[in-house]
């Protein structure tokens, strides 16, 4: 095959929102990567959204502000976007397109990979198993992250979901197995980004972190690339280098808004709340890149973080995310202490495969179920107490209220920089259930109770 010098096109026919229509193109493929040189010499980048005879519609990642129809030159790379992959990404801080922000050299790798990724053959998937421990008691005890799982962090305005995501990214580990974090930040404010960088400083200098930062004032369309970049890097770390990777994607609501912006500029028929009809498939093409592969040592655990506009869980972004992910961790203002996790509305669907003897502790699943059942009963008792007064409750119900209080104070509440060992989390969990009389603990078997239950006077 002959390699042709790239053809430069100058026929920019139309500029609209983030879109640029180039006329006179030949042989440009769909989803190809383009580089754009402005009259000023500035370089921008784009992806081909549609080709129609000699017209190519390009979405410009850095936006079209300041682009002139005349004097702009566009070249197409001849293939969908590929990036170098490899260990060189670890310890680096880059922008949303993978350009260094840390004054280091551009990232090179021995091999490259397409950022859109390819679907993993479902017959070669290994069902998720074994935990990713986060050092956050409420998560480790009740909604354990399982290697290869995707689980979302739902939050609403004013809650510290970024702090929690950064804390999880900073503390998470898989026992002694090689572990890496890829953190993709989309639409973060400078203050938030600085805090995330601080929290992850240690992990970064240990060479276990790749940080991709797309800030609130960075080009909006660039955000469409950021999570895909992160997962392409993660796939290589996991399936070629055999590492366990935690990919944190924050904030997916900002990502979806960028997608909506492009969709509306293209005049597509909108679905719910003007999000495009393909939002589900688009999100799935990101979240589904989690997993484990039969016969290979590594894993990718995906933790999308998203803020629910107006706290509405039926908003398309959390709703479609919930349909794809295998559980959610929900933050709520009703819980007064950090990390504000609502234990009853949170759920890790894969938890059973991640905990138990040889993984965490033999009694883990029963203990978690017991705590949740007790909290549910305590909530009912609490509602009743608001109507009739706490003194009118039965003695047992009052013990349940005390247990719920102990849960929040001793197990859930935690400092943002405090990492708890599994042992400490379990000690605290047993203290919490020990507030209840032993006869109420029907989900734990007698031997386990003999070993761990110490009734509080």
């Amino acid at each position: 095959m002959t390699t042709w010098a790239p053809v430069e096109y100058t026929g920019v026919a139309e500029l609209r929102g983030p879109l640029m229509v180039v006329r006179g193109t030949r042989g440009v493929g769909w989803d190809e990567y383009a580089s754009i040189e402005l009259e000023s010499g500035e370089h921008r980048h784009g992806l081909v959204l549609e080709v129609d005879r000699d017209l190519a519609v390009v979405q410009v990642l850095e936006g079209t502000a300041g682009v002139r129809a005349r004097g702009t030159r566009v070249t197409f790379t001849g293939s969908p976007l590929r990036i170098p992959v490899g260990a060189a990404w670890q310890g680096r801080v880059c922008n949303g397109r993978g350009r260094p922000l840390d004054s280091g050299p551009p990232v090179f790798g021995m091999t490259d990979a397409a950022v859109t990724g390819l679907p993993l053959n479902p017959t070669l998937r290994e069902p998720p198993a074994d935990p990713v421990l986060t050092g956050v008691s409420a998560i480790d005890a009740l909604t354990t992250l399982v290697r290869g799982q995707k689980i979302a962090l739902f939050s609403s305005g004013g809650l510290p979901h970024l702090e929690l995501a950064a804390q999880v990214a900073a503390q998470a580990h898989t026992g002694g197995a090689p572990f890496s974090v890829v953190f993709a930040a989309m639409g973060l404010t400078h203050a938030d980004a600085a805090r995330v960088r601080d929290a992850l400083e240690e992990r970064s200098s240990a060479g276990e972190l790749t940080l991709l930062l797309n800030l609130a004032d960075d080009p909006v369309i660039e955000r469409l690339l950021t999570p895909r970049l992160a997962l392409t890097i993660a796939e290589h770390l996991a399936f070629t280098m055999g590492r366990h990777v935690l990919a944190v994607l924050a904030d997916m609501t900002s990502y979806c808004e960028a997608l909506r912006e492009v969709s509306s500029a293209r005049g597509e028929i909108p679905a719910r709340r003007a999000y495009p009809g393909y939002l589900y498939s688009d999100l799935a093409s990101i979240y589904e890149r989690c997993g484990r592969v039969r016969g290979l040592p590594g894993s990718i655990t995906v933790l999308p973080v998203l803020s629910m506009p107006a706290g509405d869980i039926t908003h398309p972004v959390p709703d479609l995310t919930g349909y794809i992910t295998e559980g959610q961790i929900l933050l709520t203002r009703d819980v007064a202490s950090y990390p504000h996790i609502d234990p009853l509305a949170s759920l890790s669907r894969m938890m059973r495969a991640g905990v138990g003897g040889g993984r965490t502790r033999p009694e883990h699943m029963d203990l978690a179920t017991q705590i949740l059942a007790a909290l549910a009963r305590a909530r009912q008792a609490g509602e009743l107490a608001e109507l009739v007064g706490e003194r009118a409750l039965s003695i047992t119900d009052r013990r349940y209220l005390a247990m719920a209080e102990a849960f929040e104070l001793r197990l859930l509440a935690q400092r943002g920089d405090e990492s708890r060992s599994l042992e400490e989390t379990f000690n605290r969990a047993w203290q919490v259930v020990s507030v209840l009389p032993r006869r109420e603990l029907s989900m734990l078997d007698p031997e386990t109770l003999d070993a761990h239950y110490r009734e509080e006077p």
Partner: protein, 558 residues
């Protein structure tokens, strides 16, 4: 040969395809990506592509395949995992790359046994041979109709080897059939036979017949997939076609792993051997998701024609509808409700209409039962896919978020669901009809009273009504709830279902009788009902003894 003129994701426009037909298959570009013609104007065609079209550009050539989108049907289906176009995934690479497609069928060989002799006539659709090694049940090779002029002796043959010549036509173990057209049959059967799912709430309250259609709507987290997987594992069908249409990859991995481990209580073989899995996960190409529903039903009809009872489980039809919406929007069709194309209702109706219990061409009796999951966005049951589906199905098993949050599984809402065949199914057995009426009546009344009790407090209700509340609780906990993890409880035979219901009804009746004789209701509510509540985890012989334990205990109150 045609030429690509426009590419917009899965929508490709092609010109120069003179003589092409609607729904004909084409190969796009250098990799020959499969696509299907969905509209024609002059020699210009609109094609929906079944693979990722990255890199495809105007000027690339397009090849006619000369046939509509078809599925390759054969003995390799049972126990296999396939993509939406029925290409095997077992044996394909780790990453599914459209540039390196997998072979359509493996080089495996099969043990063929002839069932007819040379020179005899074999009517169309009758079995002329069988393949025993293809999983359970036996795979039958059907006659195209005519005189058997040659048939091979029993032996080992490859899938595409000629095993017979019937009516001048060559017969191999495999055949190709268009997927968008229903396979023919002689007539639909009127009589109804219950389809046993092994889930008590369904088999007693919301039964469906073989050949029936069911929709299962439920928001996320309501246990839709777990329920469908339970049915796929334990229902009484000869063949199960499980279509994972735009759902999670990890779940598909789980289904395949579990089916491979579990034993079929009816045949002693592995459950996987009676199952065909079509896995089109949510990150696989979207338009293959649209096709997967049709390939799945075609596979089911193929086994129906052998005289088997087949159930198709499609999780989820909403993703299929969304794929259609996505394509309609790209091709500029005017949207109807919520952006869905105007033919949504007719497409749904046509899909569910492929279910039925029929007399096959060969004179056997077979059935296709369709269970379609619906994933309403935001749990909103008034959205178009849910409302349109409800019009065409014979039964609805609606999943309820409140039940799921209370960890009540299966979270089938007995009030919000329906079965239009229940009365006909129960017509032959007055006992069963009475049992169903009694359980449904109690649950209904208990539900109504519970709302009232929340306002005025249960203590203020009359004794008889408090027993109804108690009865509702006993039925919910001791009968409707069913564990998917306990081996004894995961599948409940119809006889056992009836026995459990009768045991609980007897206890409730006794309670009613006691309050009628002036026993204070509070003392009844305090009794220990756990023997009957846990009867579902007990051996069948024990159920009546457990009922008697509770009845005797209640008698001590007199």
């Amino acid at each position: 040969m045609g030429t690509v003129t426009r590419v917009n994701g899965p929508l490709v426009e092609v010109e120069g395809l003179a003589g092409a037909a609607m729904f004909e298959l084409v190969g796009l570009g250098p990799h020959g990506l499969p696509g299907e013609i969905v509209s024609l104007r002059g020699d210009r065609a609109t094609v929906q592509a079944y693979e990722y079209t990255g890199g495809l550009s105007p000027g690339h050539s397009v090849e006619h395949r000369g046939s509509p989108l078809s599925a390759l049907l054969g003995p390799h289906l049972l126990g296999g995992v396939f993509d939406g176009l029925l290409r095997p995934l077992t044996g394909a690479g780790m990453w599914l790359d459209p540039a390196t497609p997998v072979p359509a069928h493996s080089a495996r060989v099969w043990r063929f046994t002839p069932l007819v002799e040379e020179g005899r006539a074999a009517g169309p659709g009758t079995a002329i041979g069988s393949v025993e090694s293809a999983g359970s049940p036996p795979y039958l090779v059907l006659s195209p109709g005519g005189e058997v002029s040659a048939i091979r002796p029993a032996g080992i043959y490859s899938a595409d080897a000629q095993v017979a010549v019937v009516g001048g036509a060559e017969v191999t173990l495999i055949r190709r059939r268009p997927v968008r057209q229903a396979l023919p049959y002689v007539s639909r059967l009127e009589s109804v036979i219950p389809f046993t799912t092994g889930q008590r709430v369904i088999d007693l309250l919301l039964p469906v017949p073989l050949g029936g259609t069911v929709a299962v709507p439920g928001g996320f987290g309501t246990g839709k997939t777990v329920l469908l997987q339970q049915i796929a594992k334990w229902c009484e069908a000869d063949v199960v076609v499980y279509i994972g249409c735009g759902e999670r990859g990890n779940e598909m991995a789980d289904v395949v792993a579990e089916l491979g481990e579990l034993t079929d209580p009816r045949t002693g073989g592995r459950l996987g051997e009676r199952t065909v899995v079509i896995a089109n996960t949510s990150n696989m190409p979207m338009m293959a998701r649209e096709a997967s529903i049709y390939t799945g039903v075609t596979v089911a009809e193929h086994f129906r024609d052998m005289g088997y009872d087949v159930v198709v489980i499609a999780d989820s039809t909403s993703r299929w509808a969304e794929a259609r919406r996505e394509f309609a929007s790209r091709s500029g069709a005017l949207p109807a409700e919520e952006g869905y194309p105007a033919d949504l209702a007719s497409a749904l109706a046509a899909f569910y209409e492929r279910a039925g219990r029929v007399t096959t061409l060969g004179g056997a009796t077979g059935s296709v039962t369709i269970i379609g999951a619906v994933s309403p966005p935001g749990g909103d049951l008034t959205e178009p896919v849910t409302t349109q589906t409800e019009r065409f199905v014979r039964a609805l098993w609606a999943l309820d978020r409140d039940l799921a949050y209370a960890r009540h599984y299966p979270a089938v809402s007995w009030g919000g669901s329906f079965s239009r065949d229940a009365d006909v199914l129960m017509a032959g057995s007055p006992d069963a009809a009475a049992r169903r009426a009694r359980v449904a009546g109690l649950l209904d009344e208990a539900g109504r009273l519970a709302t009232l009790a929340e306002l005025v407090g249960a203590a203020t209700l009359p004794a008889r009504e408090r027993v109804v509340l108690l009865g509702g609780r006993l039925l919910r906990e001791g009968f409707l709830r069913q564990s998917s993890l306990s081996l004894l409880d995961a599948f409940c035979r119809p006889g056992r279902t009836a026995m459990l219901a009768d045991a609980l009804l007897a206890v409730i009746e006794r309670c009613q009788d006691l309050v009628d004789h002036g026993i204070p209701v509070a003392s009844i509510e305090e009794r220990d009902f756990s023997p009957v509540l846990r009867a579902k985890d007990a051996a069948e012989e024990e159920i009546m003894a457990r009922r008697d334990t509770v009845l005797d205990d209640l008698e001590t109150l007199r």
